[in-house]
Symmetry: C2
Subunit: 275 residues, 2 copies
DNA sequence: AGGCAGTTTCCACTGAGTGGAAGCTGCCTC
DNA sequence: GAGGCAGCTTCCACTCAGTGGAAACTGCCT
């Protein structure tokens, strides 16, 4: 469904462009897992395909895949192909950031969904991407490319722009100095204009996007803060729009998104200083 | 929050009670992950604690934890302790069974939540436990011990009993011949009575539980079938009850749970043969 | 200033992990 | 139904990656 993962890491500064060392059993085991998510998300792979993607010899792959299977991190399907296993899911969902945020935010996201009947997103900043933690959508919602566990760029999504707006300055600089893809004619890719937008978001407390990532959809996003006041996540709703009548932020929707963001922030222990 | 994970595996029949081999780098890496979920779920652990729980020498643990951290499977917090990392979450949520079922079922679960305002659960059978894939709850719902990614016994939960009712016979036999914990006075632990109950569930198509796992709560559960007609999951709602007036399955609730289960089944491609 | 618990680094030894090659299996083609 | 082929599994001698005891380091509490 989604495109390239834009796996640019902000933290991991590798020395001199070293070619991703595959030494060490651990690295190889991880390379095997990564084979399922990079370059494109694959729900099942044959042994050879895994070896290929991971860049490992077949017999080595065979042995290591067996290790994963015996733990439950991979599962062998009836047709002989492999897929990610339940054990991995089970452990993965215990990750504190995701788990805590989700648990606390979900009731508010549900309220937001009920009142708007539109896609509701919850995302955090990870590296230089927006990482989608949660997504609620009804039966009839617009097709969008976001997906739980997926990544989308910061400059072309509502949640992304909010997260970027409140990110540390060096991250903003790093992001804006990188290449900014233009997905649709409406996508803003000029660093200067983006900086102006970020400033606007900081004063307004909401981001309004229209026709910048997916044709026919717009989004409204707001920041979520924790006890310390730091922005830790963003909520948004994505609505269907006509490409002809741009810029029409429904005030009721905007109110609802703000309310949801405030609700979650309050539940996280944030006490707003203003107002 | 939750108790013992009852990590009884149905599939993995170890030879002669061999004492869980820790040989091999892979096994040790997994043991480190397991340290965070067994024996009790820990959201963060010190290096020594990990070494302890995993039963590994400190220096080995140190080295291996570093590997996890460099991949993103573990994260080092500011206080020096370690917790499960975002990468693990990111990969884990891609697990096909969880991902597909969740994506398809979520809209129906939302409907069910909206119409009932009670806890909504989605669970699958894994090994000899009910594994909770999803849980929706409002701001004011009853406290329950279920948790996304958590496991609960089959004989004392609504979803569990449904999953058991439609499980292969040898699994039913295996489960009923094991030890069945009595959590509350109302918990049914007699194999004969449970078998009668399972038969009832198969004819009725719903399970009704009351005061068998958590005091003050009851549940109503129904089976979800896939294209082939096999029961692959169960939905339930958990409602607050008084311990004094037992057995009062709200017909509206029952109808809603059935409808949700049918909706998901239909979305999975199931075409009911009867009615 | 001394003690202590937890963490990090070091390094010589060695058996666990490696991967090329040979052997299987099941499927498609002529 | 013989032959070929792609993908998977098993084997095994070599060797270097991984090991873990011990020593050094850190910061905290007497």
């Amino acid at each position: 469904m989604s495109g390239k993962p834009a796996r640019a890491r902000y933290t991991e500064e590798r020395g001199e462009g070293a070619p991703a060392d595959d030494r060490g059993v651990a690295r190889r085991l991880f390379a095997i897992l990564d084979a399922f998510t990079t370059p494109t998300l694959a729900s099942s792979l044959s042994l050879t395909a895994i070896a290929d993607r991971a860049g490992l010899p077949l017999s080595t792959t065979h042995r290591m895949v067996a290790e994963w299977v015996s733990w439950g991190g991979l599962t062998r399907q009836d047709d002989g192909r492999y897929s990610l296993g339940m054990r991995l899911w089970e452990v993965g969902v215990q990750t504190p950031t995701a788990r805590n945020l989700r648990t606390i935010a979900l009731p508010y996201l549900e309220d937001l969904y009920e009142s708007s009947r539109e896609h509701v997103h919850l995302a955090v900043l990870d590296g230089l991407d927006a990482l989608y933690l949660e997504k609620l959508s009804g039966h009839h919602a617009v097709r969008v490319i976001s997906r739980v566990g997926g990544r989308l760029p910061l400059h072309s999504t509502g949640v992304g722009l909010v997260l970027l707006a409140y990110a540390p300055n060096d991250l903003i600089d790093a992001y804006l100095s990188g290449s900014l893809d233009k997905y649709l004619p409406g996508t803003v890719t000029s660093p200067e204009e983006l900086r102006r937008r970020l400033a606007g978001i900081r004063t307004e407390g909401v981001a309004v996007m229209s026709e910048e990532m997916t044709a026919g959809s717009s989004s409204l996003a707001a920041p979520i803060r924790d006890r310390t006041g730091r922005v830790v996540a963003a909520v948004s709703i994505v609505t269907r729009t006509s490409p002809f009548a741009p810029h029409k932020p429904d005030p009721a929707h905007e109110q609802a998104v703000r309310a949801a963001a405030h609700g979650v922030s309050r539940a996280l222990g944030y006490r707003r200083s203003d107002s």
